[in-house]
Amino acid sequence: MTAITLVRSATLVVLAAALGGCATGGQKDPYEKFNRKMFEFNDAVDRNALKPAATVYKQVLPSFVQTGVNNFFGNLADMWSTANNLMQGKGEAGMSDFTRVMMNSTFGLAGLIDVASEAGLKKHNEDFGQTLGYWGVKSGPYLMLPLLGPSTMRDTVALPLDIYADPWGYGVNANVQVAGTILRVVDQRAVILDASNLMEEAALDRYEFIRDGFLQSRQNKVFDGETSRKEAIKAAKADAADAAEPTAASIKAAYADDEAAPAVPAADPAADPSKPPVPAKTAAKAPVLSSEPASK
């Protein structure tokens, strides 16, 4: 535990000091200047070390070994995920994650084989940042952490607990621990290798693209694919009863300045193809949509 904790808490201290000095940029990214520098640094590390390592790892190791590594660390993460599910009052998901750990640690040979997924128990991947978010803590500004990558103020505050609660490192010596952590990081990178290659092509400005994608994706994880905690609870209940609500309202709310959206009571949209597109004037209606308590 010690070696890595030390390095990580040191980075956090440096980070806090660095952030004190700069507060520029837009609303969601007041530390853009700092973040961009960190992004460049992380990118250099990735290009020169992590990505090449992950590429070799992916090409050289047999697929079953990679799966084993991924499952092993995934199983460790499921323990903390169990606790976080329970802290969020998600009893069913918590029990499911707990059963996963039990099954995979025994029948799955210490987590190397993910038998629980085969048995239909889904992985939930909750961390303490998500728990705080679910409890109502706002994400705060975007933060690019050295080596650890994109994060938010809330998730950075939650991070020490996530690290502390991570079972990896208890009961093994420091060298094994460091080696294991490197393996874990390389494996994680290998998993997203194709996706990150793709991202490089899709983005005009990679920093912005990753930031805007990450913030959405993170928010989405906090509320399990819904737009708010209330919605998430409703959807979970409805899923059980097989009677989920339509998503039309949330779609409307997502595009504040949409002109082409069909009229609200969609009487028979197919019947009026001759109708000209909605004139710009009606865009004045848009603020009604955004006047709902924004989740940002």
Binding site: Q59, E201, D212, G213, P246, E259, A283
Partner: protein, 212 residues
């Protein structure tokens, strides 16, 4: 009497043919997405050229099987947000075209990497009267978490059209919105069009990586 009979015959013929022609337009949105994705994955998996990264083949697949169901104009207008209204019709046309090309390149890159993935659809949450719906699915991959893949579709006179896609919890429109705004703020709508065009030129000269 004979005339009336003929009239009825012609009328019923007309109704029958119009019903036939309208069949794709009446397809439910989730059924539509399911059909396209099954079709595309099947083709991509079985085509050696695509698996080897033949860019032209992949683009052909995208053009023929996916593009007819995507409303790029709407997608671009949403990503451009309030700037869309400030753009001239000519700029709007160019912007849509460049954005479309960029997305085709990106999508083509993703397609050539399809191997053993399976897609799982969630039940559609929509009223029959809804003119906009969200189709939710997830792609099960060999390792790691399943990848969320959601689609937002709008009903148009020409059937349901996709106007936004969600990958891993992030909506495409929302993700590009920030970049678009920054680029427009720096060098105007023409600047954004130019930036997109340059990116597309680079991508066009770069061969797709073959799947490993």
């Amino acid at each position: 009497m004979k005339l009336i009979k003929q009239l009825i015959a012609v009328a019923s013929m007309a109704i029958a043919t119009s019903a036939l022609a309208a069949a794709p337009a009446n397809e439910a949105p989730d059924a539509l997405v399911k059909r396209i994705s099954a079709d595309v994955i099947e083709t991509a998996k079985n085509d050696k050229e695509i698996q080897a990264g033949n860019q032209k083949r992949v683009m052909d697949l995208v053009e023929s099987k996916i593009l007819p169901y995507v409303d790029f104009q709407r997608m671009t207008s949403l990503a451009a947000g309030r700037f869309w209204r400030e753009a001239t019709p000519e700029q709007q046309k160019q912007l849509s075209a460049e954005f479309r090309t960029l997305l085709i390149f990106t999508y083509s890159g993703a397609l050539s990497q399809i191997k053993n993935e399976t897609v799982e659809f969630k039940p559609l949450r929509a009223d029959p009267a809804d003119a906009e719906v969200e189709v939710r699915s997830q792609v099960n991959v060999a390792r790691g978490e399943p990848v969320t893949l959601n689609y937002r579709l709008a009903k148009t006179p020409h059937g349901w059209k996709i106007f936004d896609i969600n990958v891993l919890g992030a909506w495409l429109v929302e993700t590009y919105k920030g970049t678009f705004a920054t680029e427009i703020g720096k060098s105007g709508i023409d600047g954004l069009i130019k930036a997109l065009a340059e990116r597309n030129k680079k991508l066009a000269n770069k061969p797709l990586k073959p799947a490993k």
